[in-house]
Symmetry: C2
Subunit: 335 residues, 2 copies
C-alpha cells in the first residue's frame, strides 16, 4: 500500500511515536529561508505536540517570513535564543542537510539528547538519531499528516491548516508530478476536519506585497532564452534588491513563470546575494534533465526537478559556468 | 450527503440516464470562447457516450482554442457545420444562457428533439427540456463526474483527463472557495483510474507560448496603483497586440497577478480592441465593491466580483471615466 521509498535507516512510525510520547520537551527546527513546507511542518507537528501536553519551542534561523505570517499559530515561530534550550528532543523538519538548519538554531538545540530528522528530500543523508525520509512524499507536511494520523496524535486547527499550506505550496497547488492520490485524499480529509479552502488559499496566494510585482517586472526585463528555447533564465542584481527593498521570500515561486513557457525544459534563476555570492535555482520539466546532478557539479543539491547552488560571483561568470554545464547535460540527455 | 443546490426544475440523474440510454445520436455544445471547463465537459461526456456506443458530435461556435489542443480527443471538437445535424438529443454544457452557445452552433443543433442543459452557473434559467443545474459544483466537469459514475457510464481515459482539466482550470487549481472535499476526492479517484497528474498539469499550466510572457512584461510596464493602493490597473495597446501577434486566450487569467497585490481590492484591465473599442475587465476582492454595478453604469455586466465593459475609446478617456466611477464607488462603500 505505502508508496514510501524506505531507506534502511528509516525509523518506524511506531518508534517515532515512542520518542514523542516518552519525552516532554521538544525543539522543532526547519531550514534557513523557510518556505511554506518548512514553517507549515513546524506548526503542524508543533501544535499537535502542544495539544498533547508537550512543551514545544519552534525555532527558525531566519524567523517567520512576512508572507507566512497569516498562518494560524505562526507567532510561535521564534528566532534562535542565544543560550541553548533545555530540551530533550530536537526535530529537524524539511531540512536536507544539518547545516541548513543554521548555526544559531543548531546552537540553540545543542543540549538535545535525541535528534529526529523528518524530511522528503532524497538527498537527505539521514543525519538524525532517528530518521524518517520519504522522498515519495511531495512535502514534509504530508509525511507529518501520515505520522500524526497513524499515531492518533491530536490534530488541532493550526495543524490542519499548516499541513494544507505546507503541501499546497510544495506541490504548486496540487500540480507537481510528486502529487499523489494520497495528497488529494489528505486535502479532502482536512476539509472534512473543517478547513476553509477558499480563505486559506486566498491568504496563501492572493496577498503579495506590491514589491513582488515590481520584482516580477524587473526579472522579466532580464529574461533570456537559449539552447533553442530549451533553457530560460533571468537574474536579480543586488542593486535591484536594494532599490525595491526586497525580502528573501519575495521571489518565491516566480521561477514558475518562465518554467511555464512552451518548449522550455529548464528554468534558471540567478541571484546576486549580499557580499557577492550567487544563488542559482534550477527547475526542470523533464526527468531526463536531472538538475540535482547539475547542481552537484557546483557543490549544490536538491531534487531531480528542482535544485540549487550557492557559488562565488561575479554574476556573469557564474552564469557562464552554469549555462555551459546545462548545455552539456542537455546534449548528454540527447534533447 | 449531497451538497447539490437542487432547483425545482432539475431532472433526476436517473432520468438523465434514461435519455442517454434511450437515444443513439447526440450533439454536445459548450459556450462561445470556450475555456477548460467548456471543452473539458464536452470531451468528458462525449467520450463516455462514444464508449457506450453512441454517435456523438462535439460542436463549438469558436472551435478548439490553441491552449486546449493538448487535451486527449480534442481533435473531435468541430466548428458548427452549415447544415443542421440529424441528431436526437442536444446537450448544452457549462453554458449559462442559450444564446451563449452561438448562432451557428444553435443552427447546427436545431433538429434535436430533446435539449439537455447541464451547468453549474447559478444564473442558468434552465432553458433545456431536461435541466441539471448545480451551482454548488465548482465546475460542470465535476457534475459530469457525478452523473457518469452514478449512472455507471464508461469512463475512458479521455473522459478521465477531461474531467480533471475542467475542474482544475475552473477552480484555479483547487484553490477557489467553490472547491469542496468532493473535488479533492474526485481528483484522487481519477488518479486511481490512471490519470498522470504531473503530465496533465504540465500540459495545462506549463505550456504558455512565449508571447504570453512578453505580454505579461508589457502589461507590468503599464501598471498603476491608485486610490491609496486599493485599485491596480494596467493596459494593452492594440499596437502591442499586433507586435506580439497575440491571440485572445493569451491574456486569460493574467489579471490575477495584480488582483493578488496586498491591499488591492479592485484590479482593472483596459484593452484597446481592433477598431478603437475598449474592453474593460474588473475583478474585486471585496463584496462591498460590486464591480457589476460599476459595469452597469457603462452598459456592461457580470458578477459582483468579476465584471466587464465594452465602451468607445480612446483609451485615455475610457480609463479616466472608469477610474472616476470606481473612486465614487469606493467612497460610497466607505473603503
Amino acid at each position: 500500500m505505502s508508496e514510501m521509498n524506505a531507506t534502511p535507516e528509516n525509523a518506524s512510525i511506531a518508534r517515532i511515536g515512542e520518542v514523542l510520547r516518552d519525552h516532554q520537551s521538544f525543539v522543532l527546527i526547519s531550514h534557513v529561508r523557510p518556505d511554506g513546507d518548512a514553517i507549515g511542518s513546524q506548526l503542524a507537528l508543533g501544535f499537535s505536540l502542544m495539544a498533547a501536553g508537550k512543551s514545544v519551542r519552534l525555532i527558525n534561523e531566519d524567523g517567520l517570513p512576512d508572507n507566512l505570517a497569516f498562518m494560524s499559530g505562526s507567532d510561535k515561530i521564534e528566532l534562535p535564543p542565544a543560550e541553548p534550550l533545555d530540551v530533550e528532543v530536537a526535530i529537524a523538519l524539511d531540512t536536507a542537510a544539518k547545516p541548513r538548519l543554521g548555526d544559531n538554531a543548531l546552537h540553540a538545540a545543542s543540549k538535545a539528547k535525541i535528534w529526529l530528522n523528518i524530511d522528503h528530500h532524497k538527498s537527505n543523508p539521514s543525519y538524525g538519531d532517528l530518521n524518517f525520509i520519504d522522498s515519495s512524499s511531495p512535502a514534509t507536511g504530508q509525511i507529518l499528516y501520515q505520522i500524526i494520523t497513524q499515531l492518533d496524535l491530536p490534530l488541532p486547527a493550526e495543524t490542519r491548516d499548516a499541513i494544507y499550506v505546507a503541501v499546497s505550496t510544495d506541490t504548486g497547488s496540487f500540480q507537481y508530478p510528486s502529487t499523489t492520490a494520497k495528497t488529494y485524499e489528505m486535502a479532502a480529509d482536512l476539509i472534512h476536519r473543517g478547513l476553509n479552502v477558499g480563505t486559506l488559499n486566498s491568504q496563501t496566494y492572493d496577498n503579495h506585497p506590491y514589491r513582488r510585482v515590481e520584482l516580477m517586472r524587473a526579472l522579466l526585463n532580464t529574461l533570456e532564452l537559449s539552447a533553442d528555447g530549451l533553457v530560460a533564465n533571468w537574474e536579480l542584481r543586488d542593486q535591484t534588491r536594494i532599490d525595491l527593498a526586497l525580502l528573501p521570500e519575495d521571489s518565491e515561486g516566480l521561477i514558475d513563470i518562465i518554467r511555464a513557457i512552451r518548449g522550455v525544459q529548464l528554468a534558471v534563476f540567478f541571484e546576486e546575494l549580499e557580499g557577492g555570492k550567487i544563488r542559482v535555482s534550477m527547475r526542470s520539466k523533464d526527468k531526463r534533465l536531472d538538475v540535482c546532478r547539475i547542481a552537484l557539479e557546483f557543490g549544490g543539491g536538491g531534487h531531480a526537478l528542482a535544485a540549487g547552488i550557492r557559488m562565488t560571483g561575479p554574476l556573469e561568470e557564474a552564469k557562464a559556468l552554469v549555462l555551459a554545464a546545462i548545455r552539456r547535460h542537455i546534449e548528454a540527455a540527447g534533447l
